[in-house]
């Protein structure tokens, strides 16, 4: 019989969606900083 865990996060699907969202945020930030560094050389 499956135990009901009262402490379980009530929206695990939403949690996964939010994690994907945050990962996309990180990726887009990284890409934009990378592209900026390619068009604006600083230093040598």
């Amino acid at each position: 019989m499956e135990e009901k865990h009262e402490d379980d996060f009530p929206a695990p699907g939403t949690f996964v969606i939010i994690m994907i969202f945050l990962a996309m945020f990180v990726l887009f930030y990284f890409l934009n900083w990378k592209w900026l560094s390619m068009v604006w050389n600083i230093g040598k």
């Binding site: 929206a11 699907g13 939403t14 934009n32 900026l36």
Partner: protein, 511 residues
């Protein structure tokens, strides 16, 4: 007067719908749809000009219709709809009579006269100044007068909303705190007051300058205060849109926020800090110090971003919790796959949420970073960002809500229900293609507000990376798709409002 107290009781929600409120919601919402039609035709023409394969319009008409597109969509369609929303969120949701209905009609007339005056000036070629109308570009004085009249009308509408809240509280038409949706709309109205005050501060001197009564307007100060109005007006849209998401969640799946205190606190953060995001338009302006830029965008604006993150978690969470309570507990996503995708409100809400969040929100926060702004400013990537937020986010949410307003408030059965169901998908897919196409082309340097990106008539030849043309084509296909979705929305709404079967007083049917 006794006519102001005539009401009916909604057979579905039990709310009192006063006749004067119903009429004002009707006229503001219908007028909004007229303006989205005008803006949508302009979208088609401008989109087909940016697509080099078609290049439809000559240069002067391109800039003229782009000005018209911006004004009719960003200002007229959205604000008329929001005023209707404010009357709904106050009078209907709080079971209260509307404050000063005659003044509310005056507000509507001012907004209509202002909008029509602006459109006449734009279409007759007397205001080829873009939505931002940066000085020293100068339009006919009647253009600025039209915007001032519209803004005054909208401000009065906000005043009616606050007045209704006061009446509801005094007459004890509700218990406890106002509902979350009303609270969110109150946040939108507060942001609107700051917005319109900035509008008055900048448009009145600009109007006087256009008449020759003021000789000089500093372009930097103009930009500062213009965007205090210009971007804050978009934050009204964000706040109203989030409120509508909560409403649609309740209407479609019976969802309630898991922790309403946190949601209200998030709206509180919007009230305090979201207007500071206007600074990101000024990141490449020379005179303003890095301190002004960083304090506004790098520090305080992120408190508003935090608020958006809260709503981004709270809304899908409340939908999931509601769906899981109904028994959709298999795996991670049965709550989503078995959701009412066949009702127009649900896909509209979900598409709106995902497009706004994943595309609009991420691009907005990233491009709003001071250094990254340098690369993306004035490129088509900016246009991609705000089409994702305002069109994919706010407009799509409003479209979804319309399909409930028609039976609930206007008491008409929807004509073309199958079209209504399909419409959010078509519009949503179109906007995704537009946003990704514009973003891709803009990242490669394609400029915004530019008639010909092939520079065919340029003295010094230049050509972009061929990938720019590829992404521009994606955006153009998106334009065709979104315009189709928009036309479906206008068609279903107008036909239903005027020719839909009138529902009986006790008919408890939504869709």
């Amino acid at each position: 007067m006794a006519s102001e107290l005539v009401f009916r009781t909604c057979p579905i929600t039990g709310k009192k719908v006063y006749a004067v409120t119903q009429n004002l919601i009707w006229i503001n919402a219908v007028t909004a749809v007229v303006f989205i039609l005008v803006g949508g035709i302009m979208a088609f023409l401008v989109g087909m000009t940016r697509w080099p394969a078609v290049h439809l319009l000559p240069a002067d008409l391109f800039y003229r219709f782009l000005t018209a597109h911006g004004l009719n969509m960003l200002i007229f369609w959205i604000i008329f709809f929001e005023i209707a929303g404010l009357y709904f969120g106050s009078s209907v949701l709080l079971n209260s009579r509307l404050a000063a209905p005659k003044v509310a009609w005056l507000a509507y007339i001012l907004m209509l006269v202002g909008a029509v005056l602006v459109d006449i000036m734009v279409f007759t070629g007397k205001a080829d100044v873009m939505f931002s109308s940066y000085v020293p570009l100068q339009a006919d004085p009647k253009y600025y007068l039209g915007i001032i009249l519209f803004a005054v009308g909208a401000l009065i509408g906000c005043g009616i909303f606050f007045g209704t809240l006061a009446i509801a509280k005094a007459e004890k038409t509700y218990e406890g705190s106002v509902p979350l949706v009303t609270f969110g709309l109150a946040a939108a109205a507060i942001i609107a007051v700051f917005t319109l005050a900035c509008g008055a501060i900048i448009y009145i001197p600009t109007f006087l300058w256009s008449l020759g009564l003021i000789t000089n307007l500093d372009p930097g100060v103009y930009r500062l205060i213009f965007w205090g109005m210009g971007h804050s007006s978009q934050q009204i849209n964000v706040t109203a849109m989030v409120s509508i998401w909560y409403l649609l969640g309740a209407l479609t799946v019976g969802a309630k926020p898991v922790n309403e205190k946190i949601c209200r606190s998030a709206f509180f953060l919007y009230i305090l800090f979201i207007n500071l995001a206007s600074e990101h338009h000024l990141l490449t302006d020379p005179t303003l110090s890095p301190y002004h830029k960083m304090v506004n965008t790098s520090y305080f604006m992120y408190l508003a971003v935090l608020a958006s993150m809260i709503h981004a978690l709270a809304i899908p969470m409340m939908v999931e919790v509601a769906q899981r309570k109904k028994g959709f507990t298999k795996g991670l996503f049965e709550w989503l796959t078995k959701a009412p995708w066949g009702e127009p409100g649900f896909p509209a809400m979900i598409f709106s949420l995902f497009i706004f969040g994943f595309i609009g929100g991420i691009t907005g926060v990233v491009y709003g970073t001071e250094q990254l702004s340098i690369k993306s400013h004035n490129t088509w990537a900016m246009t991609g960002h705000f089409h994702a937020t305002v069109v994919g986010g706010t407009t799509l949410a409003f479209m979804g809500l319309t399909y409930y307003v028609i039976p609930l408030i206007f008491r008409r059965e929807l004509i073309g229900k199958k079209l209504a169901v399909v419409q959010p998908y078509i519009f949503g897919i179109g906007i995704i293609l537009i946003a990704l196409g514009m973003g891709g082309a803009g990242t490669l340097g394609s400029p915004r507000r530019h008639w010909d990106i092939t520079f065919a008539q340029s003295v010094i030849p230049f050509s972009f990376d061929p990938a720019v043309i590829f992404f521009t084509t994606i955006a153009a296909i998106g334009v065709l798709t979104a315009v189709t979705g928009g036309a479906m929305y206008v068609g279903v709404s107008v036909l239903s409002v005027f020719f839909g079967r009138k529902m009986a007083a006790n008919e408890a049917k939504l869709l």
